[in-house]
Symmetry: C4
Subunit: 196 residues, 4 copies
């Protein structure tokens, strides 16, 4: 089964998710500077979600680039990931509209957590398909970053009950950690290609 149309479809869905998120920023009725004030948390929330979706698009791009082929399980694991990604605008909008109070911040963390889990399942299925000695398997490796992210998400969900801004800072920390494109995969591919 070719991976081309899966890449195109995923790109399309992620591009739409990242863009419709801005629709949560409802145009205020008044024209004064004050009428923008309530939108500030929505903008901050939007910024973080935009970065997250950008990171997922980027990592997804790199991983599928290293993949040679896909199967039915991979296709559904990918749909599963897209489902959780599609809930980011909702969670982000709720968090922004409620000015980072506890439950919205918890929900946002849960959605991020599920995205992390879905991405992990997808990567493991791809590794199983390509074999543990494949370029892809070596490139993804032990996926320490992914495991650390999941742990931080769980901590952030817990801290939301104390102070939701700590949670937000932790979400931001994970985003920073992933900001740099996945050098592991890039380097490993280059190394493998050098050997041949």
């Amino acid at each position: 089964m070719g991976k081309g149309r899966l890449e195109t479809f995923s790109d399309g869905v992620i591009a739409i998710i990242i863009t419709i998120m801005v629709l949560e920023m409802k145009v205020p009725h008044g024209g004064s500077l004050q009428s923008l004030r309530p939108l500030l948390p929505v903008l901050i929330s939007y910024l973080l979600s935009f970065i997250y979706l950008g990171i997922y698009w980027n990592n997804h791009h790199h991983m599928l680039h290293a993949a040679q082929h896909i199967n039915g399980s991979v296709m559904w694991a990918n749909m599963h990931l897209l489902f959780w990604l599609s809930l980011v605008p909702f969670a982000s909008g709720w968090m922004g509209e409620n000015n980072f109070t506890t439950w919205p911040v918890v929900l946002y963390g849960v959605v991020l957590l599920m995205n992390g889990v879905a991405y992990y399942i997808l990567s493991q299925l791809l590794i199983r398909l390509h074999g543990h000695n494949s370029v892809l398997a070596k490139a993804v490796g032990k996926d320490r970053k992914g495991i650390i992210s999941v742990i931080i998400y769980i901590i952030a969900i817990a801290t939301a009950f104390v102070n939701a801004w700590i949670s937000y800072a932790l979400y931001f920390l994970v985003a920073c950690m992933w900001f740099i494109p996945d050098k592991r995969i890039e380097n490993k591919i280059v190394n493998e290609e050098d050997k041949e």
Copy 2:
């Protein structure tokens, strides 16, 4: 007539439908956990619709992959299918917002039924175009799954007048039945290619 741009267009439309559906989940104003409660049926409805659209994308992908060429009739049969698929978010939203009461569940069933019929028309037109001995014709075969689905949809529409949750369970059953990518087409293609 090339099939490339038809595939791209259909992928685009299905990707947009699957994503704008999440806009039916309106961000609640309150920040408490209780304010999420009314959204639970909307989420359940969204989940089912997401799976259905994923299935249609997948089967559509497989069928058009086996196709060699298209004509004007196929193009319009495809537009017809996209029309009914585009009504899924509306039917899904209405079903979710009304907590699975009778008429919304009936409408959802009718939309699913029409999608099934539209897909059937598309497959038959493709078979006629490629001949009854083509790889595509053998692969699609008698399309028993499609016929069974349509029968179950009709039963589900009827049961909605007794208990709408039975209907929902039946819709879910059909989804499970289609969950696995269309092995028939995949296998037949492989077999045909082996013979040559």
Copy 3:
């Protein structure tokens, strides 16, 4: 200048326009069959607009397929066409919500008219670029269908002041006239290729 990315961009925009149009069908609050009644004109309006956008996508596809190259003017003529196409959901929604009263039906006609004009400009610029003896020029020909459509639109705008349903019937008539993919272009290309 390559035509590839222009085709992809246009396809994307038309796919989005055709899909967001369904968002004008707001999910009603009640769950009774009666609560769907006010949506019937919106659905009828949506159906017509869906067909129109399908026709534009199809003809656009055929014309650009016959094109060899584009330039800056063609690119902006294409943007001009996309602008008027993007107003179809608004005009369609207004017409549907007001149950086909005079002014909404007039506006819909004006938007269709401008789409027709924009398409005509695009086709003429493409012909000028490819020369009057090109395959594209012969294929588009005198564009009688296009001119007849524009005349019917003008008549329909006038009749809207007498009875808006006559106008709607005329819009539908034009849609039927265009329903069949542009055989002229297809045939001419085939003939030209046969000669060579």
Copy 4:
């Protein structure tokens, strides 16, 4: 790292932004011609934003066409540009709904300014990657147009406090200045290719 998927993703996002902008034009409830009056400024605002996004798409297209490869920094500079582009519908809607009063016009100018800055950063990172003697570097050149635009945006933001329509005229002026596809890049590429 291939530039193909970046181009596709950017095209997708810009296509969606340009299209969802029309959703800011809410369908009025009444069916009279008067009920359209309040939408006139929204339409004027939409027209300008449509042209701007068309220009960005076009220039982005030309610049990435001249690029040979990309890296992580380019990818994030591109995401940064897409972020600011995604705020155009919001700023445009606010400006239109408030009939071009001071603050909305200022915000619109700030968003345009940030888009200009983001585009400049992207172009500089691409030049650094390809070397100062590359076709791309020569083509982009000193980017006088870009610098002039930024200066005009700043002036327009200032004049908004005197008369917002002057600002609007200035925004339109910049749009006109960019209307013509970037001949510099096109010509330079042609010249370079001639030399070889």
